[in-house]
């Protein structure tokens, strides 16, 4: 059965899942890359970005690889898709990832501003959903069949899905860094009340991986 999963979310010790002031120059926000320094050295990341092979294998890479495979659809927040705010000025922005994004399936982008779907190389099509997270999830489920749906991010999108109890499993990569400020993942969110618990913890090379599930659900 299809599950709704958030994965490979880098989180700082002080609870931030993205930096402040996202922009074209800082897709992950200021100092945001420190949250993903467990992911960048992996074989999975390096293969994805075609920079010529190599990359580390190990625990971090295993979880990175798992997060990029087996998905039938993705849901992305507007900020994860790009730095453009407000109405789309034109159709030129097609995501951070160049001609061939790493999704290779239908990807649903949450936005307040309608736009025609964009078909990219490698099987990714971006669809723009203007009527909220439940609608995006319904469309993603229809597209995914019996495969899993990944909620890509950013933090604000993940928080909305968590608060509504719509995420079945979440994989966080907790990094030994203090970001100081940024976008918090947990602030003012009582995940225990919603029914979530930490299922297990596995130490990787550059992060400790925490797996969160709905209480009472088996993996």
């Amino acid at each position: 059965m299809s599950k709704v999963i958030a994965q490979s979310i880098g989180v700082s010790l002080d609870g931030f899942a993205a930096g402040t002031d996202q922009s074209l120059e800082n897709p992950l926000g200021v100092r945001g890359p420190e949250l993903m320094e467990w992911f960048f050295p992996t074989k999975t990341f390096i293969d994805m970005h075609g920079s010529g092979g190599g990359g580390e294998t190990g625990v971090d890479n295993d979880f990175a690889a798992k997060s990029m495979t087996g998905k039938g659809a993705w849901i992305l927040g507007r900020n994860m898709f790009g730095p453009v705010r407000g109405p789309w000025p034109d159709d030129s922005w097609k995501g951070w990832w160049g001609d061939e994004p790493p999704y290779h399936v239908q990807a649903f982008v949450l936005t307040h501003y309608a736009r025609e779907p964009i078909e990219m190389k490698g099987g990714t099509t971006f669809h723009f959903v203007t009527d909220g997270i439940e609608s995006a999830l319904e469309q993603a489920k229809a597209a995914a069949g019996d495969k899993d749906i990944r909620i890509g991010g950013g933090p604000s999108t993940i928080r909305q899905f968590l608060e509504a109890g719509l995420i079945d499993e979440m994989h966080l990569a907790l990094r030994p860094v203090l970001l100081g400020n940024g976008e918090p993942l947990f602030a003012d969110l009582d995940l225990r009340e919603v029914g979530y618990r930490v299922d297990r913890m596995v130490t990787g090379e550059r992060a400790v991986h925490m797996f969160v599930t709905r209480a009472g659900e088996t993996k």
Copy 2:
């Protein structure tokens, strides 16, 4: 040289270092003991509480033991000393720990209400400091000589010392639990701006231990 250290601070994945609604029945707040479930099974804790030997050795115990030894003085917040709020009704409350507290040195309790020192069995004397954290630290330094000073807690006390940059080293035991609510350790505190960074991370049996220092200082 004497250092100011906060140690063995249990923190949940969602950033709480104590539960809500501390009381005589819940010294660590509601669900607070979940933050210390790495500490309770250790030989260090079991020896401290004289419950007949036994207890686990291993990584968690090593850090637990380290946090309880070599201190020349302790500083405790009012809530760590007891559940009594407001003026002391009488002299009957002498801490959570019975006749022989586990400190065995001078311990300075932050409070707004003056009280005579209390000499306990085993070398602990509780002193009540009414003129703020700097004064408490000054008195603790005088008492500690060249030994270290431990800031015991709770979270509000640790936050005050961190914000003032007065803690040299901090050891957190991050637990794979979601507390949901409680007393946050990091909220609205930009530790990076104050100059702190995570120095290293060590996985224990029931917690992952994070070591925070002032940037540029060596251990």
